[in-house]
Symmetry: T
Subunit: 148 residues, 12 copies
Amino acid sequence: MASKGLRKILVLHGPNLNALGKRNKSVYGSKTLSEVNGLVQQRARELGMETVIHQSNSEGDLVDLIQKEAGGASAIVINPGALTHYGLSLRDALEDAGLPVIEVHLSNIYAREPWRAHSVVAPIARGQISGLGWRGYIAAVEYLSTET
Amino acid sequence: MASKGLRKILVLHGPNLNALGKRNKSVYGSKTLSEVNGLVQQRARELGMETVIHQSNSEGDLVDLIQKEAGGASAIVINPGALTHYGLSLRDALEDAGLPVIEVHLSNIYAREPWRAHSVVAPIARGQISGLGWRGYIAAVEYLSTET
Amino acid sequence: MASKGLRKILVLHGPNLNALGKRNKSVYGSKTLSEVNGLVQQRARELGMETVIHQSNSEGDLVDLIQKEAGGASAIVINPGALTHYGLSLRDALEDAGLPVIEVHLSNIYAREPWRAHSVVAPIARGQISGLGWRGYIAAVEYLSTET
Amino acid sequence: MASKGLRKILVLHGPNLNALGKRNKSVYGSKTLSEVNGLVQQRARELGMETVIHQSNSEGDLVDLIQKEAGGASAIVINPGALTHYGLSLRDALEDAGLPVIEVHLSNIYAREPWRAHSVVAPIARGQISGLGWRGYIAAVEYLSTET
Amino acid sequence: MASKGLRKILVLHGPNLNALGKRNKSVYGSKTLSEVNGLVQQRARELGMETVIHQSNSEGDLVDLIQKEAGGASAIVINPGALTHYGLSLRDALEDAGLPVIEVHLSNIYAREPWRAHSVVAPIARGQISGLGWRGYIAAVEYLSTET
Amino acid sequence: MASKGLRKILVLHGPNLNALGKRNKSVYGSKTLSEVNGLVQQRARELGMETVIHQSNSEGDLVDLIQKEAGGASAIVINPGALTHYGLSLRDALEDAGLPVIEVHLSNIYAREPWRAHSVVAPIARGQISGLGWRGYIAAVEYLSTET
Amino acid sequence: MASKGLRKILVLHGPNLNALGKRNKSVYGSKTLSEVNGLVQQRARELGMETVIHQSNSEGDLVDLIQKEAGGASAIVINPGALTHYGLSLRDALEDAGLPVIEVHLSNIYAREPWRAHSVVAPIARGQISGLGWRGYIAAVEYLSTET
Amino acid sequence: MASKGLRKILVLHGPNLNALGKRNKSVYGSKTLSEVNGLVQQRARELGMETVIHQSNSEGDLVDLIQKEAGGASAIVINPGALTHYGLSLRDALEDAGLPVIEVHLSNIYAREPWRAHSVVAPIARGQISGLGWRGYIAAVEYLSTET
Amino acid sequence: MASKGLRKILVLHGPNLNALGKRNKSVYGSKTLSEVNGLVQQRARELGMETVIHQSNSEGDLVDLIQKEAGGASAIVINPGALTHYGLSLRDALEDAGLPVIEVHLSNIYAREPWRAHSVVAPIARGQISGLGWRGYIAAVEYLSTET
Amino acid sequence: MASKGLRKILVLHGPNLNALGKRNKSVYGSKTLSEVNGLVQQRARELGMETVIHQSNSEGDLVDLIQKEAGGASAIVINPGALTHYGLSLRDALEDAGLPVIEVHLSNIYAREPWRAHSVVAPIARGQISGLGWRGYIAAVEYLSTET
Amino acid sequence: MASKGLRKILVLHGPNLNALGKRNKSVYGSKTLSEVNGLVQQRARELGMETVIHQSNSEGDLVDLIQKEAGGASAIVINPGALTHYGLSLRDALEDAGLPVIEVHLSNIYAREPWRAHSVVAPIARGQISGLGWRGYIAAVEYLSTET
Amino acid sequence: MASKGLRKILVLHGPNLNALGKRNKSVYGSKTLSEVNGLVQQRARELGMETVIHQSNSEGDLVDLIQKEAGGASAIVINPGALTHYGLSLRDALEDAGLPVIEVHLSNIYAREPWRAHSVVAPIARGQISGLGWRGYIAAVEYLSTET
């Protein structure tokens, strides 16, 4: 799990997060995914870390990505979108990766529909950040920069 | 949501609906998907509407399709197949689209296995038609033609 | 159950549907029951069918009506109102009638209070149409005109 | 509650039982309600008891009947039909009557749909007979003839 | 909903409440319904209000009464009897009436059988009074006299 | 399953029924099991039937008995005692026997502890008689005498 | 429990009720706790009764208060605030006090979040008044003045 | 469904099974998927059967594969990975295929997290083998070789 | 637990399995228990193992057998029959034995009544084979022959 | 139930308790059942009481024992083993005995699998001691010695 | 955790236990808390142990006490009163203390209201004694005196 | 809610958090509460904010603190300890405060006992941070510094 050179963080966005900036802004904020990714990348660099960032609407693709990229990474930051609530294949891939996982949600999933309050990923995550908007990704990256 | 020229309706078929005409005919009817699509297209044209029709066995593809096609459409008709019961990513994509959604089921999902009686899509749909066979699609198209 | 001459459809409206046009219009629409019935009758006639239409606020009366009228009818269209959720006597009467039943709801019962999302009638219905407003009755009549 | 002269038994049939002989015969048997009533009346007479017999499809009517007739009766035999499962007003009327109640079901309600296996009346009944067909009424009458 | 002249309160009693004074007195008290109604009427008059009072054992009748009488009334006081727990048609009629509703129960419904502790009417009521015996009606009338 | 000569009925009593006459008499009555068996035997004889009667406190023994005796019998009357609620091996043995089964309970199992209201045997029984005391056995025997 | 001289009523307010007049006024009304207490005290005096009134944000304090004050009181009026839903120690203290308890809620707890619809106190209360605002306390006091 | 020439078995592996040999070895064993497939293929050949073997992390792909390959196969062996617990589209595809299905799990899914103990596929499978490691596939192939 | 000489496998059959060949053949197959045992014994011998085989309809006997025989055995194959679903004493005995346990079911317990889909034994078993008929026992024996 | 001469206590051990000293010692302790019984017997004697001690793996036997021995005893100490969780026949036998029952568990049943935390015997017991190892039996005997 | 000199036991009583001797005596016994404490203290002394005893109606106080006193104690005996059922802060404090905890209940909590049958403390306790009245404390002290 | 001069953040720690550094370090970390508070204070100062920090083991105290301090603060950071799961009074106080609330948990509450996975506070919080150890407080403070 150690990485020579810069530590690399795998950042994953699940279904519908590519629509950020367009989908319900009062819930998800007005920044586009590209803007959020830029901020994440910049903060990671300031902290001496690289980022590999992907988004997919397909659970299968996310599993493929984790299998392919986890080997070279030291941690995973993931916003699984609605897969949070039923993506058990994604959960298994994350657990198999053997890396610290920080689960991020833009909105507070505990203040919305009841089914959003249950994450199948959380039990294998190191931590979860919910409701801080795009700053949740930043907080995740900062936390991971202190992990040794 | 307004569309210049002809109104366009996005018609989506979820997993296993490409097997229509082969899969359990007493449940799903004997017409193939191609035949059903032909009837839908024809009725839409009679009512002065265009149709864009897709089928996929993959939830991720359906989300991609909605993100790509919803912008130019004024409504969505969808038979989510078994995704009806767990496809929360699909549900979010449909909600994000901001269009009237009519959910169609060939069979009466309330007269089969208990798990089929719960739709995760229905709470964000305008309406649902269940058990009318292929005519359910026609009814959906006709309803949408009266929406102003 | 066959009928000589015109096919006859029994159209039944359950409790509080006589208040249509007055009760919550954003949910139920602004047409009165009489106007809806007129449209249903007219569409049935165009399709070569007769209609017998009744409304009652009493489950017992609805059961009486089904027992009395089903013999001469070839199908039933019913909006059971709130009886949808607990009217098991009504359900039994409908099943005993041995006719195709189309259950109609003006509003989308799956997008309201949780208790409205369960129909005790649906398991014995041929199909269900929910959320299309008064056009749901028309769709039901059209569907039944194709039944042979 | 005592009655001078002959003991009188109030026999009540709930919704849809007037359709006996027509509704699903493999479940409910082929005798009409009138034939069943005749057999009940005859057996009661043999045992020195009078019967007062009513059927109604309306819960309100059944409550009215119990309030009116229970005073002169010494016991109640009731087949509540589908009200068995939700007729709490009927239940209260039966309890208020203060008489022994025998609940009868033609079919075995424990071998059908799950919701039929719960009776809201049973907790205030003296006993319940289920699945013996019309002979269940006879058994109820015979049991009551031994009550002193 | 405004009423010229005296304010009018619609007072409704559900199933089995006509048996007050006879049914279980340790639970429901020893006054007859007629006596209770007299006290309610008198207190309303003292407070400058008229009352229209009905009792029925039939949910359908209660719905009919609400539809007929609510127009001229400024509030409703209702003891739905056992319909409290399943009378969804009654609930819809009360909500459609658009008036303040006070739900009254003679006994404390939270200290009896578990099923009595759930009211389908309460979510659309202004308030609920339970366990104060006939004085609950008086408290309801007094509360409504202060509503402006 | 047919039997030449007299029809034979297998009567089975489950755990603790050998304590009849001693255990809670207000619930189970004051007759001993031997007295009840005598009455059952006598009534069966009057109706031209033989009885084979056994009691056991062990589920395994009851299964053994059914396997051994069902071959020569034309019906089974069983009071499974507390096995009613969990004796799935007993249930399977009864179903395997392929005979009409009448389930008898001395007390009304629906008016006692909640767990007594669920019978694992009932779904494979022909009928169930509950709360008629020892007369329930008599009613069962009489019913079976009319079976052809 | 009897009290010489004036009857004394213990009035208790639970957590956050000291914030009345500031907290959500559309739910709880605009009067301060001090104003409400003044009205309660005045009405009690008119009816010839004394009041002892306390508020605490701590369940332990409320239990202490009940143990200390109940001896000299003849009844308790309590608005347990959110303790209504989990304050089992408070419930036991109220039951131990052996006095009539009237539970008061300013808002209609049955028309808010689902968890507010369950009171652990209600099963040991004499009655409950919910949704009448501060007038609920007055109604409680008036009811208790008629208790003998 | 019959196949001329050799019988062909479709062997499918769901999400994360391509990571065998790397993922938690104490749970899933130390053989790679390729090694397992080799053993399965060899055993099938010994028994005179062909195998077509696929793995995918995507439910949509698995549905596509079943639709494409089932026509030429006489049975399916599938380890659905985590899709076992929510892959209803996969379930429908398997049922539509109309072939005997053997569901295989490397680990004992009944001795792990509670959610792993429920398979949505099992109700339409012929059989299920759980906890025998890679030998479960061999047992499945051997069973199918005896099917005629 | 090691055994010198031949490895010995304890094979146990629970309630009603002695009726194999007679009980529902479409579910359980047409071989008698004796025939099945012969096949198991033969296959074990081919693989160099001994078998000790017992059947009992009594849970207590099965516990006794496990306590007596487990000491000399190296593994257990058990079909607990209906005890699968409630035989917690059997479960404890199996766990106490400290041997690998393979649970076998002739039918697919996940495709029958819901209560059959839960095994209290499975959480302490090494593996479970369901729905392969008598071949399930053979597969169990073969698996155990590879255990070292 | 009184006994002349020494008071006699019936001590019963359920399934698998004869394996004490061999089964999981970290859970159940290292003493054999014989050693535990010796200590119980000795303590009872010191307190002037006799003991009758039995163990059985069969629920039926335990019921037989209670029926046979309870007459001469003044109290029962029972560790029902796994029957604690489903042995309703045992529960009925214990209740029928009409004696004080102390339920003993060696391990703390509330700190193990969830199903162990529910005892069907506890509601009819005088008391329960859980987690004190063999000293729980001693505590039970000492408690009973003070009962008069 | 070791203690020089005498071993010290922390004895804690939760809400309403200071009312012992006054509150429902048929449930809780007639001794006052002071009398119970005297007996506990005396028995502890006989066994060579010291006791520190506190009662509080406030969960916060109990947590404070545990944090303050646990350091010098070698075990805790606690009757959490109604906090047993929801006092999760108390539970955490007890677990943090790292001492053996014996949970004591005067009454049999499994024979009262259903909500009393669940203890949030029990899963972290060494053992639980329920229903032995004040002798339960003595048994706890005696058990702890044998702990080494 | 505005504050002149520096923005002030109210930081609250619930029950048992004063034991940080002593309680289970592998779960909660090795820093004492005092050390954590120092880090929080320092980071707040760097960001130009003041902090007011309190810990209490009593829910009532926490409610008092919120009522007293919220007026002068612009946001609340709270780790409610075990009150997270049942502290509804705390929840109401937080909601009444009308400030942004960030809920912090040192450990990942979704990877522990099931009851820890439900927060009654979360639905009224702006966001929640779980499992980041003491850095969760820092992330909360940093997030709040960007709120305008």
